[in-house]
Amino acid sequence: MAATAKKWKPGDCVIFIIACILALAFFFPMFFSLISAFKTNGEILKNPIGLPQKINFANFVYLWNKTSIPRATLNSALLTIVSCLLIILFVPMSSYVIERRGGKFSSFFYPFFLAGMMIPFQAYMIPLFKELRVIGLFGTMAAPVIIYISGASSFGTLLYCSFIRGVPKEIEESAAIDGSSPFMTFWQIVFPLLKPCTASMLILQGVGIWNDFLMPMMVMPPNQPKTINVEIFSFIGEFQVRYDVLFCGTFVAIAPVILMFIFLQKYFVSGIMAGSVKS
């Protein structure tokens, strides 16, 4: 804000204009998809760049009445919320043990969890699906939740351990002297101090789960609507040339994520930063 007081030099103007042009170029594809949700298919084909002649909610009505998007959106929301809650229940606790216990336990389990970040999902999905079949979880809503928690513990351990390192041990010591059990000390004293970390974790994992495609398509209950991204995928083929319906679907997929981003921006940035420290 101090910058507003400064005088603009000619160089500053040039840089500002370049930034504006680039920003417009970067934003254009999103703008295109968002406005297309309010256009008719004819309008999209004839005038792909222009604004809709009138704001038209027909696509949304169609989406609501004729497609599996409402149910799929609900599924996506449910999966995201339940997985995130369980991630926040399990991962900080295990990170706390890894960070505070020290010794052989930590020197084994810290790299153990981090190793997961190197393994691409495609490299182990085939045995994983077989395993889920054997224990009877394949084709249930529980399967993706379990996979999300397991997958999140790698990055989560990295993120939480680095934050817990910064919490002074003295607080926990005095809580213990007051007779608090380690479990209660963690949830009542340490966990509240990790709020920024938890916010970053929730946001990054939440967006990742909401946007996921391959795994939910494979493991969710067959012959019923799956997640929003899977249903958008199945549009193609079903509605070969219905770009209006397609972009209405992508609008529903994009809007919640952008809203979250607008309100919680700083946690996105701090999450990226924490994740880049050691990867």
Binding site: I119, A123, P182, F186
Partner: protein, 294 residues
């Protein structure tokens, strides 16, 4: 002090870590190890028996031109993506460093595509790169040039995908570079200005060496993300035209789930895993070397 620390570490019970350890072991580590076994069997994904065939699939893979094509596509895509993405991300970071107004807004706009799913990104660009009504060809015909078949021409399709991935990913790496730039002590830059060091010299002698850490992280991350690309390919080309954009990830998927050759698919998956492993090891080695220098 030492006694105190020990008492705290004794008090934190292991059971608090058990839910995570159990899930992670069962659903990441175990299947990762099972992959090795699966790749040695001729399993079709359905039958109850898994016939052990040893290294047969690895021998087959070595002679399979479809595999080598996917291998080449994956490496090409990952390497070119990592190079271009880092150049764009660094350029954006340097630009924003100089912008004196609305910095946060610009940063958000460049980062925004990162929030889209691969599927959504893919379909947006399928429309933008459409042969007849896509904006690229509309502009090209407007200035009197012949339209290009961005996703249908086997020579161009892979680069179209790289282009889209740069659009989607550059903002993420930009944020890491911005943090790297911010961590350069301001007094060094000011001292250089006072000494009359020219901007180009300042860039290569001060800024670049100070960004080596951010660069190694970004380059590794973008390489690995390049190897993992799947959703965009499903949405944009389905590996086509022909096999022009078939990567290892896409091949694993089609071979295992469309053709029912899960053993073979797992063997291909093992090569993908080895690739990412090699990249991670090289990265750790390089980082150590630079840390010693710094």
């Amino acid at each position: 002090m030492a006694i105190k620390q020990q008492s705290l570490s004794r008090r934190v019970p292991v059971w608090m870590a058990l839910p995570s350890i159990t899930l992670f072991s069962l659903f990441v580590i175990l299947p990762a190890f099972l992959s090795i076994y699966f790749s040695l069997t001729s399993w079709d994904g359905l039958s109850p028996v898994m016939k052990f065939i040893g290294l047969q699939y690895y021998i087959d893979i070595a002679h399979d031109s479809r595999f080598w094509n996917a291998f080449r596509n994956s490496i090409l895509l990952a390497v070119v993506l990592a190079v271009v993405e880092n150049i764009v991300a660094l350029a954006l970071a340097l630009l924003l460093d100089k912008v004196i107004k609305a910095k946060t807004l610009f940063r958000s706009i460049f980062y925004l595509p990162n929030l889209l799913s691969g599927i959504v990104t893919g379909y947006i660009w399928v429309a933008l790169m459409n042969y007849s009504f896509g904006i690229f060809n509309v502009l090209l015909t407007h200035i009197g040039m012949t339209p290009v078949d961005w996703l249908g021409n086997p020579k161009i399709a892979l680069w179209s995908i790289v282009f889209v991935m740069v659009w989607k990913g550059a903002g993420y790496y930009m944020i890491i570079y911005i943090a790297g730039l911010n961590s350069i002590p301001q007094d060094i830059l000011e001292a250089a200005d006072i000494d009359g060091v020219r901007p180009v010299r300042k860039f290569f002698s001060i800024i670049v060496p100070m960004l080596v850490g951010s660069f190694t992280i970004n380059f590794t991350l973008s390489l690995i993300n390049g190897l993992k690309v799947f959703d965009q390919i499903v949405a944009m080309t389905s590996g086509g035209p022909g096999f022009a954009t078939e990567t290892l990830t896409y091949q694993i998927y089609t071979v295992a789930f469309s053709d029912g050759r899960q053993g073979y698919g797992t063997a291909v998956a093992m090569t993908l895993f080895l690739l990412t492993l090699v990249i991670s090891i090289v990265e750790t080695k390089l980082t150590r070397r630079f840390e010693v220098e710094a």
